[in-house]
């Protein structure tokens, strides 16, 4: 028995030692959703003689994050490079010791200032290289718009959605004409897009939790739950099986779509024709998500991992990732690169996605503050909205239990 145990331990060990059987350095990159790294990693592997890179993809940011926390606490088992989404960024900045300092003269000025600032610790260590940002447009199904007698042309559509009220009003008209199709993909996603436009939503500058008292949060909650009652929402949770299936089933006509969502839509709606993207976002502009690459200090090959992260987040590479999956660059230099601005997306009716998202990034007035509790409170907020969608609680009850949940999170 002891023998078998020792043998399994050894088998596990060899997997984690960071070298392959033929003596090459093995690097793992842990990501979630779609980063657009598949071809880049092949390219890197072809360039290197002594490094082999492998990607580990998690289905959702939540799942990825759970795994990250578990292994961070265990002190081992993390990938050589771990992607981290901005919603969790502040919470992990508190553990900045666990990540290698990546500052390097070569990367100075590579990213938009705010992206770099957020990744710099008070002592001046840079613990993450920016990948993408999430400027949002509205993705829509032109074929369903036509069915409802609405304009389908992306310029005309853009004119319709200047404010959230306009957007929701258009939705009310739409669901009257096409009763089996909802207006947007999920209450949660739409609420998140609105929360991302609030500079201090759940936490104030000092990271004091203000979610319970903040009228702007309550307003988002009230608007979204009222919309659901009017049938604007599918009532599904983002990333659930039913949500994924609804892309194939004319489940909804529009959704808030940050750049990285383009790849997700294309994957889920495979074979569906009619998707397009309008150069507009209700209420001005908004940024949803975006990520960093970090190098956990516990890894065996920190230097090699840093090199790889540096290469993956260089403007040229990020533009390729954008072309593959729509992850919009956070690299300053990439933003006016013709390769980006001239890029179009065949799935979205050949929309000039590069130009549209560059405009959308321009329109973002500020980057919403997300403190260490943001992700946890946001989960509770999303759950509350979901309870109303599913009819488990009335809007008032759901709000009260949301308040109790905040209390519980401390």
């Amino acid at each position: 028995m002891a023998l078998t145990l020792a043998a399994t331990a050894a088998a596990c060990g060899s997997d984690d030692e960071g070298t392959t059987a033929d003596g090459k350095v093995k690097l793992t990159v842990a990501t979630f959703n779609e980063f657009g790294y598949e071809e880049l990693i092949e390219e890197y592997n072809a360039m290197q003689d002594d490094v082999v890179v492998e990607q580990k993809k998690a289905g959702t940011a939540n799942e990825h994050q759970d795994n990250l926390y578990t292994k961070l606490a265990a002190g081992s088992g993390l990938s050589d490079i771990e992607a981290i989404e901005v919603d969790w960024w502040s919470a992990l900045m508190e553990q900045s010791d666990a990540f290698a300092d990546l500052s390097d003269p070569e990367v100075e000025g590579r990213w938009l200032d705010w992206k770099t600032e957020a990744a710099t610790t008070p002592d001046g260590a840079l613990i993450g290289y920016g990948t993408d940002i999430g400027p949002e447009g509205i993705c829509y199904r032109a074929d369903l718009f036509e069915k409802a007698g609405m304009p389908t042309d992306r310029e005309k559509v853009a004119e319709m959605f200047g404010t959230w009220d306009d957007y929701f009003e258009a939705g009310r008209q739409f669901v009257k004409k096409v009763p089996d199709t909802a207006w947007y993909d999920s209450s949660g996603g739409t609420a998140q897009a609105m929360i991302n436009q609030v500079e201090y939503s759940f936490e104030d500058e000092d990271n004091t939790v203000i979610a319970a008292e903040n009228p702007e949060v309550k307003e988002v909650f009230d608007t979204i739950t009222a919309n659901a009652a009017d049938g604007l929402s599918t009532g599904l949770t983002q990333w659930s099986e039913d949500w994924t299936a609804s892309f194939q089933d004319n489940g909804f006509a529009t959704m808030a779509c940050p750049g990285w969502m383009l790849g997700v839509i294309e994957g889920n709606a495979d074979g569906v024709e009619g998707w397009d993207i309008a150069n507009v976002f209700p209420g001005g502009g908004g940024n949803w998500g975006g990520s960093y690459l970090t190098v956990p200090a516990q890894g065996d090959n920190v230097e090699e991992a840093k090199e790889l992260a540096k290469w993956l987040t260089a403007p040229e590479q990020q533009i390729k990732a954008f072309e593959a999956k729509g992850t919009f660059p956070s690299q300053a230099e990439a933003l006016d690169d013709p390769a980006l601005t001239g890029s179009t997306n065949a799935f979205f009716n050949d929309a000039p996605t590069g130009e549209i998202l560059a405009d959308r990034a321009e329109a973002v007035p500020f980057i919403a503050h997300k403190g260490p509790k943001f992700a946890d409170i946001n989960t509770a907020f999303q759950q509350a909205i979901q309870r109303v969608d599913e009819g488990q609680e009335s809007a008032d009850e759901a709000w009260d239990s949301f308040l109790a949940d905040i209390e519980r999170l401390g």
Binding site: D66, A73, R387, R408
Partner: protein
């Protein structure tokens, strides 16, 4: 002389030594963590006595999780043991291609729980799932498998049953094959039919194994995690936590709230709950068995 006395202990000692390391140590360590403030990433804090236990018992989600756990446990373990018993009885007859049938009931057990959860997650989709297509084909309203409390428990219990019924059936079958065949012959001569033989001979004679199966499925049933965890993308057991089990609650405290002290307190409470349930089951199945055994004494001798 000393050899004869000592050797057996030496032979069994590896198990107990290993048990000490991988069983007792975590148990003790969890108890130690549960009486401290202990963050997932920040580590050990001040000694806090039974404060973590108090906070857990005051949390309404603990009681909610306890209710869900017991409900899913009853919905899974009871039918599971009964079906396994019937299945084993059928497999214990003179079937053609016996080995094929016997091996095939174990097939679901070989599939990883995560894969099972994925497949069943699709089958039990609220809107586009296979189960609801069937339900609607019969002419009923679609069931909201991920929303309604009882429906979600049934869906999760069926995942658990799908996985464990065959496994338990094989264990029971092994015990049934040890029942001497001449007992059945004499019963048949006395005019007992198949069903009567099964109830009056088979079940009483494999009682220790039945108790074993009941206890292990109690322990397993109260620790259900993977199936409900993967039934929901947020991992909290639905928007209203309508299927958050105790182990999921423990996980939430440890890895989402990142409070290992409270999570450890839940682990200990769960441990105590399992002991209570296991003892209760042992007592009940002993008593039921004893009554039957007494009545059938003539047959057994």
């Amino acid at each position: 002389m000393l050899d004869v006395k000592l050797t057996p202990y030496v032979f069994v000692s590896p198990f107990f030594l290993l048990f000490l390391v991988v069983g007792m140590f975590p148990l003790g360590y969890t108890a130690w963590v549960s009486v401290h403030d202990w963050g997932l990433l920040s580590g050990q804090g001040a000694f806090s006595g039974l404060d973590n236990y108090r906070r857990v018992l005051e949390d309404r989600y603990f009681w909610n999780a306890l209710r869900n756990t017991i409900s899913i446990f009853v919905l899974s373990s009871v039918p599971q043991v009964l079906i396994a018993l019937a299945l084993a009885g059928l497999l214990d007859t003179q079937l053609r291609a016996r080995t094929l049938w016997r091996m095939s009931v174990l097939l679901p057990f070989v599939v990883a729980p995560a894969a099972v959860a994925l497949i069943f997650g699709n089958v039990f989709g609220d809107r586009y799932g296979l189960a609801n297509e069937l339900v609607q084909w019969i002419g009923l309203d679609p069931i909201r498998w991920h929303v309604d409390t009882l429906a979600s428990h049934v869906a999760i219990a069926s995942m658990v049953n799908w996985r464990w019924t065959g496994y338990n059936a094989l264990i029971l079958l092994a015990a049934m094959q040890a029942v001497p065949r001449d007992v059945y012959e004499s019963a048949a001569l006395d005019g007992a039919g198949r069903v009567r033989q099964f109830v009056s001979i088979t079940v009483p004679m494999i009682r220790p194994t039945v108790i074993f199966v009941i206890i292990t499925s109690t322990i397993g049933g109260l620790q259900i995690f993977a199936e409900p965890r993967l039934f929901d993308t947020q991992g909290l057991g639905g928007a209203d936590r309508q299927y958050q089990t105790l182990t999921m609650y423990l996980w939430e405290l440890g890895w989402r709230v990142r409070d290992l002290g409270m999570a450890s307190a839940v682990a200990w409470l769960l441990f105590l709950i399992i002991i209570v349930f296991a003892l209760l089951n042992l007592l009940l199945s002993r008593r039921a068995g004893a009554m039957k055994g007494h009545a059938k004494k003539g047959v057994r001798r």
